[in-house]
């Protein structure tokens, strides 16, 4: 059984950990499948609070580059699985907290924006280098718009680059900033405890309404985004830029 994603429970708080530290938790098709499996478990027996985090030094470095470079079909499979995951995370009855322990880049930063509340420390790195690389972050853009508003989303996606935790907090990508990683553990536990004191049904009803208000259940937009993003990444110009940067 794959343990690319782990789920642990401690009373009212579940922790979902992206577990591919040797690849900075980059999202591959297998890893996304493992996350989907853990979400099956969470949907069957939900907890009031779910914390999403990464094993090791990174939260999530983005999409698995080898698969991104694998042609349209592989890229589309990867991106549509990411899209489906974002919709499922958003519609969990739990309040979902992103504990951004380290780098959250591209699709990884998109996952941060899907969560209801995000925390990080000053030295974390967050942002969206996609456009600079000739890509269109179409699957995550709707979540960025909902997190920071359309005006700031424009700045963050076009000009933001990768920024430190403090600047990410200013930009609205994260809600709570701590000085160090140790403080991050403490602050996350305290937040989870505060959140768990709420009535689970009231929380679920409130989340459901917020999702309806901001259009979070628009599946078609995410599907269209996966197609657009896969198409852009398959263009020769984008492939050449990616190979030059990372190859």
């Amino acid at each position: 059984m794959s343990n690319l994603a782990n789920l642990s429970r401690n009373g009212p708080v579940a922790t979902l950990t992206i577990n591919r530290p040797d690849a900075r938790n980059a999202l591959s098709i297998d890893l996304l499948a493992a996350l989907h499996d853990r979400l099956d478990e969470l949907e069957r027996t939900p907890t009031p609070v779910t914390v999403l985090t990464g094993e090791g030094r990174a939260f999530c470095a983005g999409m698995d580059l080898k698969q991104v470079l694998g042609g349209y079909d592989t890229a589309y499979e990867l991106l549509s699985s990411l899209g489906a995951l974002t919709l499922r995370l958003r519609s969990l009855p739990s309040v979902v907290v992103a504990k951004v322990n380290g780098a959250a880049i591209g699709g990884g930063c998109g996952l941060v924006c899907v969560c209801d509340i995000a925390l990080t420390h000053e030295n974390a790195k967050l942002g969206f280098p996609e456009v600079e690389l000739g890509l269109c972050p179409a699957v995550v853009a709707p979540w960025v718009v909902r997190k920071v508003g359309p005006g700031r989303a424009r700045r963050v996606l076009l000009l933001g680059g990768v920024m430190d935790g403090a600047r990410a907090a200013e930009a609205g990508l994260v809600d709570i900033l701590t000085p160090t990683t140790d403080d991050l553990d403490e602050e996350t536990d305290a937040l989870a405890e505060r959140l768990a004191s709420g009535g689970p049904e009231a929380m679920a009803a409130t989340k459901g309404l917020l999702n309806r208000i901001d259009g979070s259940d628009d599946r078609d937009l995410i599907t269209e985004g996966a197609r657009l993003s896969a198409q852009m990444v398959s263009e020769p110009e984008a492939q050449a830029r990616l190979k030059a940067r990372f190859g």
């Binding site: 456009v131 600079e132 972050p137 179409a138 853009a141 508003g149 005006g151 076009l158």
Partner: protein, 252 residues
């Protein structure tokens, strides 16, 4: 005959710089200026070698004081007001539809129609002492034409307040609500800072930048509200309330 230089434009490498050029009137907008501006943007977008960023600036001490109200007062039937409102709406449409991103540099003030342009930009630089706002309800003019883009830029709460409260606000507040993205200490520093932002945007791969900007408009759907917003503003043009208030302004 067209007054020759209400708008100037110059291409330097990948950046097209367009300047509102009526400094003696604080760059107050005329129907002709707005029509030229919208056309300049559309022409650049359709060019065989389009620029990769647009830099929009105002000549002189003030970016733009809004519509030229003397022209409106001289035309009580409201045709001038209607042309200004349509021209403003067309200009913002053109900014959003263009494949290249836009940076606006604001020194001194961006008021009413001048402030409305900011909603079409991807990045806005201003000096610390600049003033902003939409004080047009006092004139019996509806700023509805601005609303679809301003709600995106600052959120629905701030948009409601600033379209309904006819007061100016300062640059730190504009930064706080997201209308402005970068503040500089001196008016003279606005142009270099705005140019630096335009250069950064111009360095992005153009297809990815264009696709991402198009996709953001698809997500927010703001363009679909452009016509109803313009209609709401046009419905008052030339009416008794607007006519008497603009005439009163002239006497004062």
């Amino acid at each position: 005959m067209s007054p020759p230089n209400e708008l100037t434009s110059a291409r330097d490498g990948q950046v097209l710089t367009v300047r509102l050029n009526r400094p003696e009137r604080r760059n107050a907008m005329t129907p002709r200026m707005l029509a030229s501006l919208a056309r300049a943007i559309d022409d650049a977008a359709a060019a065989p070698d389009p620029p990769r960023a647009l830099l929009l600036l105002g000549e002189g001490k003030v970016f733009c004081a809004g519509f030229d109200l003397d022209l409106c007062a001289a035309d009580p039937d409201g045709d001038t007001m209607r042309a200004l409102l349509s021209g403003l709406s067309e200009t913002i449409r053109a900014l959003r539809a263009a494949p290249f991103p836009t940076v606006i540099g604001v020194q001194g003030a961006a008021v009413a129609g001048g402030c409305a342009l900011l909603g079409g930009a991807d990045f806005v630089v201003s000096d610390n002492a600049a003033r902003f706002g939409y004080p047009v309800l006092r004139l019996g003019v509806s700023p509805a034409v601005t609303a679809p883009y301003l709600t995106e830029s600052v959120g629905t709460g701030s948009c409601r307040r600033h379209l309904l409260e006819p007061e100016l606000f300062d640059a730190p507040h504009a930064l706080g609500i997201g209308l402005v993205d970068e503040l500089v200490s001196e008016p003279d520093s606005v142009e270099p800072a705005a140019r630096a932002a335009a250069d950064r945007l111009a360095a992005l791969p153009p297809d990815a930048a264009a696709a991402t900007r198009r996709w953001l408009d698809r997500i927010t759907g703001s363009g679909s509200l452009r016509e109803p917003a313009l209609e709401a503003s046009l419905s008052l043009a030339g009416g008794a309330e607007e006519r008497s208030r603009i005439a009163g302004l002239k006497k004062r």
